[in-house]
Symmetry: C2
DNA sequence: GGTTTCATGTAACATGTTACATGATTCT
DNA sequence: AGAATCATGTAACATGTTACATGAAACC
């Protein structure tokens, strides 16, 4: 049973940065972690409830209102997070539907393959722009983040940039090759 | 309901290259598609049975023996495959446990972070070597593959190479930065 | 004769996504 | 006043993984 609920660790990590609601956690995934991690509500809310029972998180009573439930990490939660951070990360199997489709497309019309590659390139051009914008914002110090965390966010964005650039380069090369 | 069983398409695509057993399909994923797609038996066998009922595949009776069941794609299966190949591919959300861990590691000891990055680099160095070997084998024409398919396999491997190189470069940069 | 690879399959479990329901608050 | 965003949650469904059971055939 090498399966572990990674959503739990994502939530612990996010709440360790700052307390927040389930909604905040989702937003964090969609912005800061976008391109590297995603969560959906169908996972976040039930997981938070389970974590509450396990005392990995607790409700910030002072912030509690009718519709808003603010969670914060507990010392036990921090220990759990720490343990996970120290663990080796197993490489996870990849599944790229695009590459799967491409490899089976040798009999497809060339125009269609070129279009596939151009669309794929476009997606990565836009993604690259987004990372560059985020990099710019980070340099300007728009948000209030500790110096420590800033360098980690920079590394994250740099990874996104290099990865997009590699993909774009590959698309160009492959389109040029005519296959 | 935008969910589609992609294993089905992977199986159709593989059987469209050449007929084979469930075991063969798994092997194909672990070799040719490794790094881009994976399947496990718990998915392959039940899916094959379902596909048989739906007449997307059929059993090659002449090759049938007690333990070995060889499948081939049917015309209906080819139509289904074709339709999928023509469809736009939606971008799928990414989940990198390594990046998730890194982003939450700003309070971890520097040595541990460097070790994480070095391990991660090593994995990609080995992966790169594997792709380069496969590229070499393909150039030598070791296997019997049509010219058409060869250029697609080359593109696939080239993607793997560029992607590994980008990751290795990022690891080096990040280690050098000292974060 | 023993080990590895080939070969099929299932049950239990774990994870992930979508659609829907509900309503408050904030912005324009 | 109406639209967008904030906010929580569940049920149904879809997907994915592991562990186990079984045994033949090929290799050394």
């Amino acid at each position: 049973m090498a399966l572990k609920n990674k959503s739990l660790y994502a939530i612990l990590g996010i709440l360790n940065v700052s307390p927040g609601t389930g909604y905040d956690i989702k937003k964090y995934c969609d912005t800061v972690l976008s391109g590297f991690w995603n969560e959906n509500f169908g996972h976040i809310y039930p997981t938070l409830k389970k974590m509450l029972v396990d005392e990995l998180v607790e409700i910030v009573e002072s912030e509690k209102s009718e519709k808003k439930i603010q969670y914060q990490i507990t010392p036990k939660g921090q220990m759990e997070l720490e343990a996970w951070l120290m663990e080796d990360t197993e490489t996870q199997p990849m599944r790229s539907e695009f590459m799967l489709k491409l490899i089976f497309s040798s009999n497809q019309p060339k125009e269609h393959i070129i279009k596939m590659l151009e669309d794929y390139k476009q997606i990565h051009v836009e993604k690259l722009e987004k990372y560059l914008d985020m990099q710019h914002d980070l340099e300007q110090g728009i948000e209030e983040i500790t110096k420590e965390r800033t360098s980690f966010l920079k590394a994250l964005l740099r990874r996104g940039v290099l990865s997009c650039e590699a993909t774009i380069r590959w698309c160009d090369e492959t389109i040029d090759s005519g296959l």
